[in-house]
Amino acid sequence: MLTASHLTRRFGSRLAVDDVSFELVPGEVFALLGPNGAGKTTTLRMLAGLIEPSSGHVHLRTGSQSPDTSPSLRGQIGFLTESPGLWERLDVRRNLLVYARLHGLPRPDHAVGEALETFGIRDRARDLAGQLSKGLKQRVALARALLHKPRVVLLDEPTSGLDPQSAHEFRELVVRLRNTNHTVVLSTHNLDEVERIASRVAVLRTRLIALDTPAALRVRLFGSRLRITLGQSAEPFSALLRDSGFPDVRADANTLSIAVTDGSASAPPIVKRLVEAGADVCAVGVEEPRLEDVYLRLVDGDRK
């Protein structure tokens, strides 16, 4: 759907993005994570054809971004900028109508009516954009970014500053996009949001530090661990498991944490061994470090 190949961008002597490559497929939400100034917005702007890479290129299924092709390729991408950027003295309908016409849609009024319906803002169509809440503005801005029905949608910190309810509603819209086979690139600092909706995560710090699914990143950094809660003290059983070929076992009160290569496959033999040894197994689960831990370890590791 969209390929970024060795994207590099310099601003004078400052390197903003260094040799970033990835490929996006339809129906995925691709999260760009990274500290402030890591190059997330610059990467999005290069993907959107707003700024040229110093080297490398962006390739859409229909062609490559270049100064000559940028205007037409910009028409195939929906970009929700960090700020909604609505014309506040104009009403919602007119805000959308101008963009429908800028995209050269054949029936702009119809496209706007459809967008108002899809995003549940028909009853606010005559309201001035300046009078809307931040959540509604963001909703209108997303409707605007999707008016021309792009298959690739770039979202730059879309839920930043939204209240939990509005952020939740916005995420629902993003999930709806994913389910309708859109490719969504989401730049955010909200790790909980990434956890909920992202299929893959790219951690940027000028260059690409890591790129994978959240689950694979967890395993890569923290390994896989089984967490078993017993009806009695866990300590006596830790030595038993070490002797059974699981060298990394931690006991804490009545909980055992065991490093394994595959959480689901290792659980049955371990539980069996514990039960045979007289343990009362109350609960078994795969331990999942929070994405925040994964992120911090990646960013800290890169800093060092």
């Binding site: 700024i51 205007p71 037409s72 910009r74 950027g85 003295r89 101008v98 963009y99 800028l102």
Partner: protein
């Protein structure tokens, strides 16, 4: 073309929502209408001394009363017609000074309202964007100029000597109103839009843009001093220069408009 119209339509709708932006243009228009009336009608009425009583205007009467548009006018009417004709340049051009704030704010205003980035993310080209922005300030300025002209003529019909209004319907005067005025306006506003796309604060854009009006005001001065008489050939020659300048300014504007700098360096 449809993208230019879409953005132009938006700019005009935005202006309609914020009519206070026209206040400077309306004020300058009003005062430029008032000024010749003060000189030619009000002061003589207040002092009781007609312009034709003064020997200063003898040369004006001698020179102008033979012109077809002045034929049949009284000496007072000839002098009034001369004053109104010469102040026509001011009348046509002053609303541009007022619209300068709209032009100067056009690009930087979008940036400050954070509406420029989503706009640049559409297929709109720099040429289309700048054309829409120039027209967005030019069309209201043109409407104001033409409106001022109508008020000017109406004022002459009511307050001036009978028949003086004919002096404004000569080819040269109409050339000033319908050719020189619009083309000068376009040059001034294009420059202001260029400035607006290069500076990162609206006040600088407005101040630098306002300088553009100086050469145009200079034209009024040289005309009043008699150094230049705006005959048809002179008007056509200046118009040709202005036309060339407009084409050049558009090319320059497109070249100067640096999308990347605007997005990444302007705060």
């Amino acid at each position: 073309m449809r993208r230019i119209l879409a953005l132009l339509d938006k700019d005009l709708a935005d202006l309609r929502q914020n009519p206070s932006l026209f206040v400077p243009a309306l004020l300058t228009g009003f005062f430029s209408i008032l000024l010749p009336f003060i000189i030619a009608i009000i002061i003589p009425a207040m002092t009781g001394e007609r312009l034709s009583d003064s020997s200063d205007f003898e040369l004006v009467v001698e020179t102008y009363n033979s012109q077809p548009a002045m034929r049949g006018l009284t000496p007072e009417g000839v002098i009034q017609a001369w004053v109104f004709q010469h102040f026509l340049v001011l009348l046509v051009l002053t609303p541009i000074a007022g619209s300068m704030s709209v032009a100067a704010y056009s690009v930087i205003g979008e940036k400050q309202a954070r509406t420029l980035e989503p706009l640049l993310a559409t297929p709109i080209t720099t040429f289309e964007l700048l054309t829409a922005k120039v027209l967005g300030s030019f069309l209201p300025a043109l409407m104001l100029s033409l409106g001022s002209f109508c008020v000017y003529v109406a004022g002459m019909l009511v307050f001036a000597e009978p028949g003086t209004y004919r002096a404004l319907f000569t080819p040269a005067s109409l050339g000033v109103v319908f050719l020189l005025g619009p083309l000068s306006a376009l040059v001034a506003l294009q420059l202001a839009v260029c400035v607006s796309s290069r500076v990162n604060d609206a006040r600088s854009a407005q101040q630098i843009g306002a300088l553009v009006i100086l050469p145009i005001a200079g034209l009024l001065v040289v005309q009043l001093t008699g150094s230049i008489v705006l005959t048809i050939p002179v008007i056509l020659a200046i118009s040709a220069i202005l036309l060339g300048m407009n084409a050049g300014l558009m090319l320059l504007g497109v070249k100067l408009f640096d999308r990347e700098a605007i997005l990444t360096r302007w705060k």
